[in-house]
Symmetry: C2
Subunit: 201 residues, 2 copies
Amino acid sequence: MAQRKSRNDRRIDLIEAARRAIIRHGIDRVQLSHVAEEAGLTSGAVLYHYPDLGELLVEAQHAGMERFYEQRLRQLATVTDPVTKLVMTIRSGLPTGPLDPDVRLLNELGGAAGRNRVYGVLLTSLYDRQVAMYQSILDTGSALGVFRLSGDSLTLARNLVALEDAYGYRITARHPVIGPAEAAELILSYARTATGNDLAH
Amino acid sequence: MAQRKSRNDRRIDLIEAARRAIIRHGIDRVQLSHVAEEAGLTSGAVLYHYPDLGELLVEAQHAGMERFYEQRLRQLATVTDPVTKLVMTIRSGLPTGPLDPDVRLLNELGGAAGRNRVYGVLLTSLYDRQVAMYQSILDTGSALGVFRLSGDSLTLARNLVALEDAYGYRITARHPVIGPAEAAELILSYARTATGNDLAH
DNA sequence: GGGGTAGTTGAAGGTAAATTCAAATGGTCG
DNA sequence: CGACCATTTGAATTTACCTTCAACTACCCC
C-alpha cells in the first residue's frame, strides 16, 4: 500500500500529480487513473480527496500558474537595475525547451480557455499580472532615465507579454529554428526599440 | 436515410463536419458521434470512411488551417499599397470575437502541439508561411521607400505573427479589455515603430 | 496497547463511447 | 430492367472509464 499521508499533504501531492498528468495527457484527455498513477495511488484514493476530478484539475492549473508567476517575481526581486531586470524577465518567461513543464501546462490552457470560463479567467489574470510586472520595470527605467519609451508603458508591456506567450507556443511545438535563445533575441529586438536602450548588460 | 454520396464527396463533407465538431467540443473532447451528427450520418458511416477518428481530425485541422491562410492571401491580393496591406493583414489575423471559429480551431491545436508531433508540424508550418507573408509586405514597402524598417524584416515579421497569435488567445479567452479592436491597435503600435510609418490609411 | 478514525485498496456495478457487422438501400452500369 | 457494389443503418458487442463501497490498514490519542 502507498504510504499514508495527512489530508493536507496528500492534497498537495495530488495537485502535483495532476499537473504532471495534464502535461502528459492533455487537459481534456487526462483521466482519474492517470492522476492516480502519477501519485502512486489508486483511483479510489484520489476520489476520496477530490470527489470531482474537474476541481482537482483547476487547482492544479491554478497552482502551476501561481508557481510560474511567483518564481518570476522572486527572481526579479534579486536585482535592481532596470536593464538587467528587463532582460532577465524576458528570459524567465520563455520555456527552457520544448519539454518545459511550466509552459506546457500553461499552453494546455490556451485552447480550453475558449470553451471553459474558469480557465479563461485564470489565464487572463496571469496575463494581466505579467503585464503589470513588465509595466513596472518599464516605468521604473523610464523614471530613472535609463529607458526612453517609444509609447505608453501599458501598450509596450502588453506586447512584451504577448510575444513571450506566442514564442512559448512555438518552442513547445518544436519550431526547428526558434528555440529559447532565438525567441529571447526576437523579444529583445522589440524591447530595444521599445526602450531606446540597447539592453547590453 | 441520409443522402448517399460518393466516397470523395462524403470525405470532404466529413472533414467539414469534423471541423465544426472540433470547434464545438474541443480537439481532445470531440467524439465520433459528434462528427456523425454534424454530418447528418451515423457513427458507423463515419467509421466506414475514416476507420481512425484521429486521422480525420488531423485532416480537419489541416483543412481549417489552409482555409484560414488562403483567405488571408486572397484578401491581400486585392490591394497593392503596402500600408493598406499591412493594416489589413494585421486585422485579418485576429479573431472577429471570442467565438471566431477559425481562430478557435487554431488555438485548440496550441496545447496539443506540445504532445503531438503532427499538430506541432502543422502549426509550425502555418506560422512560417504567415511570417513569409508579412516579410514580403515589409520588404515591398521598404523597397518602395514607404517603410523605413527598424530591423531586419524577418525579425519584424516573426514578431508580428507572434503578436497576432498571442492576441488571438487573449480574445478567445475573453479578456475583458482586449477585444479585436484593441488587439489590432496594440499590434499596429508595434508595426508603426517597426516600419517608421504612422500607418494612417 | 487498544479503540477509533482517516486513508487506502480492490473489486463490483454502471455508463458512455467506440467498434463490429449483418442487413437494408440506392446508384450505376451492362 | 436487373444485378452488383458502394454506402449507410441500427443493433449487438466490446472497451474504457467512472463510481461506489465494503473491507482493510496504519496511525493517533487516550
